[in-house]
């Protein structure tokens, strides 16, 4: 939760003067997002989100992020829509930072999602994968398998502080994933961070997806494995197969998985567990003591990783495997 940059009414009014977004009535810094400063604006026309991109975001990525939201919305996905300036561009500048005005999406994220919600999340993820087709800008996934070793190199020497023996365990896992990472599977634009706080619900139904600032081009089934990790474990870190089944069924109701994608799910799930483990470990080590931020426990993803290491097939995630069917003719 963060607002890194304060803005004055004057500069905000000037920023808004090149949009047809109505007259400014109020703006509040909101405690959302960890990379950027976000404000909820009311004008006499509508509510909006104003995002100021802080230094952790590469300005070169902004045409991808904003263009993607526009492309996805144009192709029927419910997501925030960047508002175009009168000159047609999606990006402005405010308080010395790149800034975008984005439509406000009503809805709330679920602190305690249930299986029926996981089903809708799976379907929405598949819809996003299909809607992303034809988007022409590309962005490499810096946090996929080739990016993990450089990240690990920065944390390895202190990993045993989290748990004795951890450095050797992660070294072995990283080696395994680098040599067994599936190739040749369908790729496209993935969300790469579809956690519960990035999915809004309204009246118990999914109302939209937000926060595309980790989106990139990668293997589609890998994105599904991120959702398995993010949605289908309980607070005690146990795997809930009912949720897993619902998530995968929801996904397949929109975009059926191939046999090769299904076979690859356990390795992808190990990979995505390792990916979140590594960034959390890095943040854990690098956050100075006394800093008033909530450090996320890297052990959560260590436990999930160990679970996936014992999974022999996607059936254990709840995926209904094809069985020889008996046709009954009445």
């Amino acid at each position: 939760m963060a607002v890194y940059t304060d803005i004055s009414e004057d500069e905000l009014a000037k920023f808004l003067s090149v949009y047809d977004a109505g007259n400014l009535m109020s703006y509040k810094g909101i405690a959302e997002g960890v990379e950027n400063s976000n404000f909820l604006l009311h004008t006499d026309k509508a509510p909006y989100i104003l995002t100021l991109y802080e230094k952790r975001v590469d300005p070169g990525d902004l045409p991808f992020f904003l263009g993607l939201m526009q492309h996805l919305a144009d192709h029927g996905l419910s997501c925030p829509l960047p508002v175009a300036r009168r000159d047609g561009s999606l990006l402005g500048e405010l308080a010395g930072r790149p800034a975008a005005l984005i439509s406000f999406l009503e809805g709330m994220w679920l602190r305690k999602p249930e299986a029926r919600h996981c089903r809708e999340v799976g379907a929405a993820l598949a819809q996003m994968h299909l809607a992303g087709e034809g988007f022409t800008i590309t962005r490499k996934n810096a946090l996929s398998v080739s990016g993990w070793r450089p990240l690990w190199d920065k944390s390895e020497s202190r990993a045993d502080e989290v748990e004795p023996g951890l450095a050797a365990e992660i070294r072995a896992e990283l080696g395994f994933l680098e040599s067994h990472w599936p190739s040749g599977l369908p790729t496209g634009v993935i969300h790469a961070d579809l956690f519960p706080d990035n999915v809004f619900f309204l009246d118990d139904h999914l109302s939209g997806l937000i926060d595309f600032y980790f989106a990139c081009n990668d293997v589609l089934a890998y994105d599904l494995s991120i959702c398995l990790n993010a949605w289908c474990f309980e607070k005690d870190w146990s795997y809930n197969i009912t949720k897993g089944m619902a998530l995968i069924e929801g996904y397949q109701s929109v975009r059926p998985l191939s046999g090769a994608e299904i076979d690859a799910l356990p390795v992808f799930a190990r990979g995505s567990a390792l990916r979140f483990f590594l960034t959390r470990l890095y943040d854990w080590i690098m956050t100075p003591p006394g800093a008033m931020v909530t450090k996320k426990d890297p052990k959560e993803y260590l436990r999930k990783l160990r679970f996936h290491q014992h999974v022999r097939s996607a059936a254990e995630y709840g995926l209904e495997m094809p069985v020889p069917s008996m046709k009954v003719t009445v």
Copy 2:
């Protein structure tokens, strides 16, 4: 800026079920207030502010704060209005904390107020002083002259870290104020914290006052002296007499000051400068190094205090003194 408590959609929906406030569509933690957690809610009826009172607020004070807002709004002041539950009460409970739903006041606070805004602030302060008449609950000002010495006792030993010789200077000032504090002047409900971030403007006119969580019963002219300190100094801590004149004129356009109140202004201004100096000094000393909060510089109020020590009469604040007038008959 703070959101200390996260709330789930479920518990929020349950909380709202005893209000006629419409159906919840979204809620965002907002970076406003330092004592409580605040959320901006959208329902299908209106926007609202939801405040969760955290442990620094005495629950025994809440009937005063909420009742005051209701009383002031009923008497024509533009300020947030607590929404009554169906049982008529203004206070509920959410996430184990006392919580209130409050109408959302459109408007923005000014980062760079000018003299014309100070005039409106003065008038609104006087309107509040008049509107507060007849409010039957009372609350003592814990941060008036009798409360300063206990606060000072906690900081005195480290005051010289801020500036050598400071302990002796503040000791002398405290002694002076305790023995020269004016008595017998009109009292009533004062805001006690009417800084720029607590006054909203819309289309360049004042749209309302917020944050009554320091409000209490005290001398009315003392409240005006707080505004002199909060509104009429520039970023370089120099006093702007044009703003001072506008603030006082605005106040007197609604509630003329008596001669005794005018005479007391310089001492009250010293007192209110000392009051904010002391709380800032305390926070400065008590905030651990590395804590990610913005510490406000206590020297700002030290400089203001020294300015007021050299003021001989309220004329130096910009107050127009009565002069023998020449009547010209045309």
